[in-house]
């Protein structure tokens, strides 16, 4: 065993050592190869990041318009109403008033854009591409050209999705879940575009996942053993596995639904389907629930795809800014592995209302509650890490700290949805919206902001403005809670999640009734529609400091003096700033665990992983 180990050690050093001499002779590429068709993981990471943030903003604009419809149904949207009418035609926005069809389009696309074109590229692909190879001491991803292909598949998927807004009839209307038979029988072409776009986005994610896994498994620097990987890399590793194994069933389901729409098969159409009073000319014999199974087989692991990179980012930042090692690193790693595993066997808790039997419901209820255990372990480890730390309250740390209670709220409010008896009451209500937005919006998106503020100096050599960062943070935190907290109340009052008028029609149709669950909504509940909308628009304004700060700091930000402005231990700070093609100019070896802060007896309060032990 040890003989072999010595041999292999030499081989690894040789193989990794090769690149250093060649680095200087690397030919300079032109503009197109450097910025557009780049194979460099850092540039691809930034491309992903830029697209991801842009689509996050776009998706947010969609919901801002929808919130107008919910608060002031039937009134023209100020400022953007005429633009909508000019762009999308007077059929869907006559005089700037949003019609229910347009509300459905925006609703479906808000979900799709935020999940598949916003958070996955920003949290997983952008930070993963930029940071993971640096943190494991690799020169690039294992397959740089596959990496480029992954980005361009993503890009074309986004193009298809965006174009679908402007085709006759507009984009997909059946919600981001695209349940059949509704999604199949809608006569407009938006759903077909959605499916084609999804196949491209899925292909991109699969290529990306293969690349991440191969990189993490095979490209670690000498000495970077599995348990010396920073927690962010572990989170990305499990995320990549989730994408690799959970996305193909959705691709299969997408192909089947595409067949249903284009070739008129009936995989998801039951026998005897009647639409608009007419028999549909299909063979029947399909199963609508099959779509839901295949969809949620992806879409539940997708939740962890959204949250795990965020947890990774937060762990890095908390360790760095508390100046002490993460508490329970092995617990974190074990939890994230268990989380990744159980994520595959919980999906049908989205389907309690489909009439499943009690036994299978009990099974999925049990697994769903089991999966909260590792989540709580992760959250607890991060909380305990704060204990006794000398915390630096800079902007990334503020976002990371806010992540903990916000994710906590999101997680705990998920428990009533995991129990099938309470889910029956809460299903498809605003409670669900509030729950998962607490997980992904103040959860993952805060982590993304934290990551941007934290790694910005590495990408550009300049820091973002601390003052405007803090303004951005406090405004975001306040408005985020003003948006989502009232939704819990609305949901428990019974407000359904898909009403374009915010429940007004429903309320009129059900005048005061002794039974509150079917009665009209009270004025307080209806009034929340307005306050939530106002908070959402304020939230939109609150992002302006961030956007200006981001672009301004590229040129005018405060220059950093060293390559390691945060005094961090992980490998990405060993590179020059910004890192050149090939990343490291000195030979990288790893001697330490990832978070050796404040080691007793050490000269400095941080001991980088690449610093040899005495």
């Amino acid at each position: 065993m040890s003989d072999k180990a010595e041999v292999t050690q030499v081989q690894v050093q040789e193989a990794v050592g090769v690149h250093h001499d060649e680095h200087e002779e690397h030919p300079q590429h032109g503009f197109w190869r450097t910025y557009i068709f780049s194979t460099d993981h850092k540039m691809i990471g930034m491309q992903y990041g830029f697209c991801g943030l842009a689509f996050l903003f776009f998706g947010f604009c969609l919901i801002a318009m929808m919130r107008w419809s919910m608060a002031y149904d039937g009134e023209p949207i100020p400022f953007v109403g005429p633009i909508l009418e000019a762009l999308l035609g007077s059929g869907v926005a006559p005089g700037g008033v949003m019609q229910p069809e347009l509300y459905n389009v925006f609703g479906a696309m808000h979900g799709t854009i935020m999940v598949f074109m916003g958070i996955v590229p920003a949290a997983f692909a952008a930070f993963g591409n930029y940071v993971v190879p640096l943190q494991i001491g690799a020169v690039d991803m294992a397959f740089p050209r596959v990496n480029m292909a992954s980005f361009w598949a993503f890009f074309f998927g986004c193009v298809v999705m965006t174009v679908s807004f402007f085709i006759p009839g507009g984009a997909a209307q059946a919600g981001w879940t695209s349940y059949s038979p509704l999604a199949t029988v809608i006569p407009t072409d938006g759903q077909t575009y959605w499916l084609i776009g999804m196949v491209l986005l899925i292909t991109s994610s699969l290529l990306g996942a293969v690349n991440f896994l191969a990189t993490i498994i095979n490209m670690r620097a000498p000495g970077m053993t599995w348990l010396r990987l920073p927690f962010f890399v572990w989170a990305q590793f499990i995320t990549a596995f989730l994408l690799l194994l959970a996305f193909p069933p959705l691709e299969a389901a997408g192909i089947l639904q595409l067949m249903d729409r284009v070739l008129e098969t009936s995989f998801f159409l039951p026998t005897g389907l009647v639409v608009g009073g007419q028999d549909v000319d299909v063979s029947g014999g399909g199963s609508p629930l099959l779509w839901q199974h295949l969809f949620w087989f992806l879409a539940h692991p997708e939740v962890y795809v959204l949250i795990l990179p965020g947890m990774g980012i937060v762990a890095e930042i908390i360790a760095n800014n508390t100046r002490k090692p993460i508490w329970g690193y092995k617990f974190l790693v074990g939890s994230v592995v268990v989380l990744g595993f159980i994520a595959f066997i919980v999906w049908a808790h989205h389907m309690y209302m489909t009439g499943m039997g009690t036994v299978i419901s009990a099974f999925f209820q049990t697994t769903t509650l089991l999966i909260s255990i590792p989540s709580v372990i992760i959250l607890t480890c991060l909380l305990i890490s704060l204990w006794g730390g000398s915390i630096r309250f800079n902007t990334p740390m503020l976002f990371a700290l806010a992540f903990l209670p916000m994710f906590g709220i999101g997680g705990l409010t998920g428990l009533p949805l995991g129990f099938n008896f309470s889910d029956v009451a809460l299903h498809d209500s605003y409670y669900v919206i509030a729950h998962f937005h607490y997980v992904v919006a103040p959860g993952t998106i805060f982590a993304i902001f934290a990551g941007v503020y934290y790694w910005f100096p590495k990408m550009t050599g300049r820091k973002m403005s601390e003052f405007w960062g803090k303004v951005h943070f406090w405004l975001s935190l306040i408005f985020m809670n003003l948006i989502f907290m009232p939704m819990f109340a609305q949901g428990m009052a019974g407000m359904s999640r898909r009403m374009s008028d915010g429940g007004a029609t429903y309320s009129l149709a059900n005048p005061d009734n002794a039974d509150v669950t079917v009665g009209a909504f009270s004025d307080t509940i209806m009034g929340m529609n307005v306050s939530i909308s106002a908070a959402a628009w304020a939230m939109l304004v609150a992002q302006v400091p961030f956007i200006i700060n981001l672009f301004r700091s590229v040129k005018y930000g405060e220059k950093i003096e060293s390559d390691n402005p945060w005094q961090a231990t992980t490998l990405e700070w060993e590179t020059p700033t910004p890192p050149p093609h090939g990343n490291f100019i000195k030979e990288i070896k790893v001697y330490r665990d990832p978070y050796e802060y404040s080691v007793p007896g050490a000269k400095k309060d941080f001991s980088p992983q690449a610093q040899p032990a005495k």
Binding site: A142, A209, I217, N218, L245, M259, T265, F267, D281, S287
Partner: protein
């Protein structure tokens, strides 16, 4: 910058990058085809007994194609073994053999297996009485002959539709959906017979199609087309006196075919005319004369022209009836479908899975051709080991494609 482990395996994982990558890719492929298999199983066990048309698959063609794919899988690994020995000529020989097998596989599938199914129809009727009548018409001769040969005469020959019913159950229904007679098959057949969900299955020989009179009934001045332009448009479609037609209306085209009528209707509609299409009579056409509409859909026969159907009746030669032709009035047709994806969930999943598999084979052929071209082979002259690895990696993918087919063959053709 050079990426490590592109050629030599990393010592502690035992893998070079590409091999690791392709295995991970195969894992995702397992889930992709796994999801389709799951769909297959769920749809199948959920199917109403007597609707899973599996007995129509040609097992011998399937088995032949399986062996072709197995051979190609063996050839690609032999090609790799030749490269390991440094023998480029041997590699080329086996590689061409692999490509030939892959092409053969696709040719059999795309030029024989699929197209024969597209020419074969199932016709469901809306009336049970009509269905029994047509089956009797189509099968009474061959059923009598069959009964004489198998000495089953007299059993229920006297009752209505007795012999034909028996023949349809034994020779058509049971073989197609159940393979062997059993209690289930009897039950399913009785239900299908009573409820009229049986289909008439065969080829469409000829049909009676409408001859259409196109009549101008009016012209709107406010459609934004000037009188001169409108009349020019009319003249394009052979009107004798465009001005008179525009003002007073009248017969524009007589006994024209459907496609022309629809084209005229669209073009003149743009020019502000309102038209009335009417059926002048029906003419018999054979399927060969039609050309354009390769695969018929229900809509194609049920198209409504001024209250009358576009196709009045079709003449079908039924399966297993020694080409006994029967005439089916289209007003009785509930649904009509070739054995294309929309025929039933079985054919839907059959075309989807085999189509996706064929797409993998097609992609494989392109990669193999690339590796035979000078641009692909240049890697061999630069770095032999890396090229060998590349072929090994491709081989892993190719074996997986073979593996998928090994499972597809029994579940789609045999079980």
């Amino acid at each position: 910058m050079e990426i490590p482990y592109t050629v030599k395996p990393r010592p502690d994982t035992g893998l070079y990058n590409a091999k690791l990558g392709i295995w991970l890719f195969l894992a995702s492929e397992v889930m992709l085809f796994g999801a389709l298999f799951s769909s297959y199983v769920l749809l199948r066990v959920g199917a109403v007994p007597g609707t899973w048309s599996m007995g129509l698959m040609d097992i011998m063609v399937g088995a032949g194609n399986t062996m072709v794919l197995i051979a190609s899988s063996m050839f690609i690994v032999l090609a790799w073994a030749q490269l390991k020995q440094g023998n480029l000529a041997g590699y080329k020989k086996w590689k061409w053999a692999t490509i030939a097998c892959a092409v053969l596989f696709l040719v059999v599938k795309w030029s024989y297996e699929w197209p024969t199914k597209f020419k074969h129809y199932d016709i469901w009727l809306s009336s049970t009485v009509e269905l029994h009548k047509k089956l009797e018409q189509g099968y009474h001769l061959v059923a009598e002959k069959h009964a004489r040969e198998s000495h089953q005469e007299g059993e229920d020959a006297g009752s209505h539709g007795g012999l034909a019913k028996h023949y349809v159950e034994e020779e058509i229904f049971t073989k197609r959906f159940f393979k062997e007679p059993s209690g289930d098959s009897h039950k399913a057949f009785d239900v299908a017979w009573e409820q009229g969900t049986l289909a008439l299955s065969g080829h469409i020989n000829s049909y009676e199609e409408a001859q259409i009179n196109v009549r101008i009934s009016g012209w709107k001045a406010d459609a934004g087309v000037s009188e001169v332009d409108a009349e020019k448009t009319l003249a394009r479609f052979g009107a004798g006196d465009p001005a008179k037609l525009r003002k007073q209306g009248g017969l524009l085209l007589e006994k024209t075919d459907y496609d022309t009528a629809k084209r005229v209707e669209y073009a003149l509609g743009q020019a502000g005319f309102t038209l009335a299409l009417g059926v002048a009579g029906y003419t018999e056409k054979t399927k060969e004369e039609e050309g354009a509409a390769w695969v018929w859909r229900t809509k194609r026969v049920a198209e409504d022209i001024g209250g009358q159907p576009r196709v009045r009746s079709i003449i079908v030669s039924l399966d297993h009836s020694h080409h006994q032709k029967i005439k089916v009035e289209t007003k009785h047709i509930k649904r009509l479908s070739a054995f294309e994806p929309k025929h039933s969930t079985f054919f839907g999943i059959y075309y989807t899975i085999t189509g996706l598999h064929a797409a993998h084979v097609f992609g494989g052929i392109i990669v193999m051709l690339y590796n035979m071209l000078p641009i692909g082979l240049s890697m061999w002259h630069k770095d032999r080991e890396r090229f060998t690895n590349r072929i090994e990696t491709f081989g892993l993918f190719w074996h997986f494609v073979d593996l998928v087919w090994i499972f597809l063959f029994p579940i789609l053709y045999i079980l």
